[in-house]
């Protein structure tokens, strides 16, 4: 369902912090900080994860010159059980907080909720974002870090990154959110946890389709449609579905995927990047900066999430997926 934001809340700033391996990302120049230690000098991966979230939030606040006390709400989530890193970060930041879980689509669902609170007049400033830390996520969803299992070409690499955006009332000079679409949970019967792109592509497709339809727009009305972490194969599948639905080939160049591009063409990362931090990091750094620089006027951001757990996979369930989208414009 499409939500139209009459007050057009603005994305005032983004704070993105990433891990050491993310130095190799083609987007790394847009990040606020790339840390050398994947644990942020903390004892555990989960503590490092928490620290990363806090730093990302602080970067976002610093850019606009606000403090923890000025923030009315924080929306966010990660992929660790019960989202303790984000919960604990909220404890330390002392900001009223609701944790949200939409897997890797959390970067968008949190922005949508923050926009609704802004639209309602309840919030002057709110923080919204998502994060993932490779080690903490891999051990939970797949194998221990040092386990020597062969990953297929369809696998994706969970990024270590946190991306948080500071959302406030509409301001002309900042990118503003005009509309959003909350996606359905879509299940096309995919069940391979090493092939998430294939599971998520239909969700991205449905969300894009329904957003365009209800907004009465075509793909070429946008400068960029950027999906979150479909990976190279997932993006191929999304394009395949769009072509099947009558989208012209020249329009397909407007559709890109953050996960597919994240690590460039490095084959060590197989099909590309994934993780809640992937879309958050790219959306809240690269995209925002490009929009402020005037490169893009109108962008549709679509974050996709695979709603599985190790338990559901072991019990033989298929993988339902979701995709949430926001439409951002810049005057």
């Amino acid at each position: 369902m499409v939500i139209i934001f009459q007050s057009k809340p603005s994305l005032l700033a983004g704070g993105v912090v990433a891990g050491p391996l993310e130095n190799r990302s083609i987007f790394s120049q847009y990040f606020d900080s790339v840390y050398d230690d994947e644990r942020w000098q903390m004892k555990t991966n989960e503590q490092g994860h928490r620290k990363m979230i806090e730093e990302a939030c602080e970067f976002a606040m610093k850019k606009i010159g606000v403090q923890n006390g000025d923030i009315d709400f924080m929306m966010g989530g990660d992929l660790v059980n019960q989202m303790t890193p984000t919960n604990f970060a909220a404890r330390d930041l002392e900001i009223p907080f609701i944790g949200l879980f939409s897997a890797c689509a959390t970067s968008m669902s949190s922005v949508i909720v923050a926009c609704l609170l802004t639209e309602l007049g309840a919030a002057n400033f709110s923080l919204a974002g998502a994060s993932s830390q490779h080690n903490a996520i891999e051990r939970q969803f797949r194998y221990p870090i040092n386990y020597g299992a062969q990953k297929p070409q369809t696998a994706q690499w969970t990024v270590t990154a946190a991306g948080y955006a500071l959302i406030g009332k509409h301001r002309e000079e900042f990118p503003s959110i005009e509309a959003a679409t909350i996606g359905k949970s879509v299940d096309y019967g995919m069940d391979d946890p090493f092939h998430m792109g294939a599971a998520m592509a239909p969700a991205a497709f449905q969300t894009i389709q329904s957003h365009l339809q209800q907004r009465n727009q075509k793909i070429y009305h946008y400068d960029l449609i950027l999906t979150g972490d479909l990976g190279q194969l997932g993006l191929k599948l999304l394009k395949g579905m769009l072509v099947e639905n009558g989208v012209k080939n020249e329009e397909l160049t407007l559709i890109r995927d953050a996960g597919a591009e994240f690590y460039g063409q490095d084959e060590a990362f197989q099909s590309g990047a994934s993780g809640a931090g992937c879309s958050a990091a790219v959306f809240f750094s690269y995209v925002l900066q490009q929009m402020r620089a005037g490169s893009y006027k109108r962008v549709l951001l679509v974050a996709t999430g695979a709603l599985l757990s190790p338990l559901s996979y072991q019990q033989g369930e298929t993988i339902p997926c979701t995709a949430h989208a926001i439409e951002i414009t810049m005057k």
Binding site: G19, L21, H134, N135, R139, I145, N146, A149, W157, A268
Partner: protein, 121 residues
């Protein structure tokens, strides 16, 4: 003796190839693959075929995980021969458990001295 190395290489390699085919074509996870191979080793020993393989290929047959099923079965059968039905139960770890005990000890030591690292190259 040089031939033993060649046979160890070939037989060990072939057992790994069976594992790879189970993974790629059979679409099994590593856990399923290893479990299947262990059961295979136990059955081969039950038919009296694993010991000739060890004689033939040396480490080519003792190093792959199939030998784990073999040695468990071997212990159970040896004890069953001596003590009857109860031996089936008690003889299991009689012959060998060096793989398990080594893994436990080195797992513990490893946990004390190493930290997980998410590097890629």
């Amino acid at each position: 003796m040089v031939m033993t190395f060649v046979f160890a290489f070939i037989v060990g390699g072939i057992i790994c190839v069976i594992g790879q085919l189970l993974m790629d074509i059979g679409n099994l996870t590593p856990g399923h693959t290893l479990s299947t191979l262990v059961v295979l080793g136990a059955i081969l020993d039950g038919m009296g075929l694993y010991e000739p393989l060890i004689n033939f290929a040396g480490a080519g047959a003792t190093v792959p995980i199939t030998s784990f099923g073999n040695s468990l079965t071997h212990g159970a059968m040896a004890e069953a021969e001596k003590h009857g039905l109860v031996g089936v139960l008690t003889g299991m770890f009689e012959v060998t458990s060096s793989g398990i005990s080594a893994a436990i000890i080195f797992g513990f030591i490893g946990a004390l001295i190493f930290k997980p690292k998410g590097n890629i190259d």
